[in-house]
Symmetry: C2
Subunit: 131 residues, 2 copies
Amino acid sequence: MYIQLDFESEIPIYTQLKQQIIAGIAKEELRPNDALPSVRSMAKDIGINLHTVNKAYQQLKQEGYILIHRQKGVVIHPDGVEPADDAYRSTLKSTLRPLIAESICKNISKEEFAGYVNTLFAEFKKEGNDK
Amino acid sequence: MYIQLDFESEIPIYTQLKQQIIAGIAKEELRPNDALPSVRSMAKDIGINLHTVNKAYQQLKQEGYILIHRQKGVVIHPDGVEPADDAYRSTLKSTLRPLIAESICKNISKEEFAGYVNTLFAEFKKEGNDK
């Protein structure tokens, strides 16, 4: 899996790394039990600090995307990611709400916004990886 | 306009304040030229620090939601908010992308996600405030 970071972005590097691994799982480029590089080698590969990789991995672990084994190393969670629960759905809506308020102020219609959602879903769900 | 802050939230207070003012504009509870309380009185009214209000107001000003007059005080931008440009659309898509990746991992379908978008648009666009 190819990790691409934008060092000019306002989004912290650990968040970018985390988001790209989640994107890899969404695209099914990363599947349950797939190995990820160790903290040390990921840091070396992409030229960032150990602590930055560690922060991304710890959050991914906490959110159930990966397991960190002392011996087997870092793997995509063997059981797959837990389906969304009510708390996740509520957080999702709270995150979408200000984005939609902003879009309304800037004259983006519901149809245009829904179009972006459609396109982005299609970006992840290419042919052949429908669950 | 009633400002409701959640001091337990991970979202910084200045961001919450900013988001609520933008939500007020989206709902057309706040209209062009409407006055907002001064930094000082907003801070006093909602019991937060002057600097926190100032940070929210400065960002709202920079993003074209409000004007800060030395004499007339703080008002909702008289010309309305600038419609979205390409840069805004691109930022919007970059913000939606990780949310959608996460949702896919958690088995939220495109239809469910689009349903939240619909509901949230409806929340802001009540009868009688269609533009």
